[in-house]
Symmetry: C2
Subunit: 246 residues, 2 copies
């Protein structure tokens, strides 16, 4: 039945990338990413699925220190504002927020902005006739391809998501129809942490998967006992055990 | 420098999933996906990155034939409307559109709706303070993890993206703050096509990657000749050669 499945080693490689991938902020090394490796990462991103094969993405490689310094200033401003917001709302984690390092804009040797061309493919794109945001969603799939390929290459990626998009677009001279979807820090790392930093620092823990699976409706039919059992006993690979997930 | 990279076999597994993944519409087999496999796919999705470790996703497994039949009716309506739109606009591909099979809602043994809880993690989520859509983008990353894991397991996935979201939400009894991000058809397949069907049917071809890479600005600095060379000569794995990509 299942002759299309990968052999164990290759399947393991895919799962390992998924489980060992991290959002890197603090472990970047200054060593440049060789261009052959970078080309593999970009090809991986370019082979993501996209609505109507629209391929709405572009890749802006940013090595210029002056631009990265300006982006860092955008981050600092947004980060301060976010810290104040948590404090103002009385979030019990407000004191923790300023202690978290949330970007590696200048530490990483390379930044990469993955954009979405909202006009690519013309006014009507197959599969995008009901939900206009399908182009943005497609570009996200490219981000994840790149993120996983980077893990397999030993390269860390961190997504900086609080920049003012209009000012970022200005810094990168983006035309109006080009949306700066993901601003990524890219570089080799000293280590990939065994678990997400927001978990180890006590900001937020992983939710139990069984709470998130429904059958047929939101308040749905009961899951079969065997699926429930499988969800609870799935072997998360060894390298992920530190997180205490079963 | 790069001791964190995977060994060749595992790295190959990751790239193979990326390059051999397809948006499946026509090759679904009726065989059920074993619950152990399904659990692995859901765990893979659940280990996607998410803004502020928000994990905004839920997974609604839809095996009920009555619901799938209603979803299929939603699709048929949206598809007819899309066909008329291409015709009205005088798109030269308008005759091709109705010949394309764009879903496997009833062919696949299982449908899966991956949703996004817009309220999870409270009113202010770390990393989501500037761009509210970061929750939707995070849920997309979960879709891609599942899509790639499915390929490694020999399971095909097809994303049906033209459904009327409000009526889909009603069918699945979703609360108002739960957005039905991705409606997926899931099942084993007779084969994974060597290239995307929209390319082989002449709807849209893959864009040359070198046109999509910029340096520092949109109308940017020249790429280094070595990067340009690397982008053009990157070895796309053998199983992708049929597509004629270098």
């Amino acid at each position: 039945m299942n002759t299309n499945a990968f052999e164990d080693d290759q399947r393991q490689g895919l799962y390992r990338a998924i489980y060992e991938r991290r959002d890197v902020r603090s472990q970047f090394l200054p060593d440049p990413v060789p261009e052959a490796v970078l080309a593999r990462l970009l090809h991986a991103a370019h082979h993501a699925p996209s609505v109507g094969f629209m391929q709405p993405w572009d890749f802006i490689l940013i090595d210029d220190l002056a631009i990265r310094t300006q982006v860092k200033a955008l981050f600092d401003e947004a980060n301060l504002s976010a810290a104040q917001r948590f404090a103002k709302e009385g979030d019990p984690r407000a004191r923790l927020y300023p202690q978290l390092k949330l970007e590696g804009i200048l530490d990483a040797p390379l930044n990469l902005c993955i954009t979405c061309d909202r006009r690519r493919g013309g006014p009507t794109v197959l599969g995008r006739t009901a939900i206009l945001e399908m182009d943005l969603f497609s570009a996200c799939l490219a981000v994840q391809n790149l993120w996983l390929a980077a893990r397999a290459e030993g390269v860390g990626i961190g997504w900086v998501s609080i920049l003012d998009n209009q000012r970022l677009a200005d810094l990168l001279s983006l035309p109006e129809h080009i949306y700066p979807l993901a601003y990524l820090c890219v570089g080799y790392v000293s280590e990939f942490l065994p678990q997400p930093e927001l978990a180890s620092r006590g900001w937020q823990q992983r939710l139990p998967l069984t709470q998130l699976v429904h059958r047929n409706h939101w308040q749905g039919d009961a899951l079969s006992p065997t699926l429930n059992q499988a969800l609870q006993t799935t072997q998360i690979p060894n390298y992920c055990r530190q997180e205490g997930i079963k």
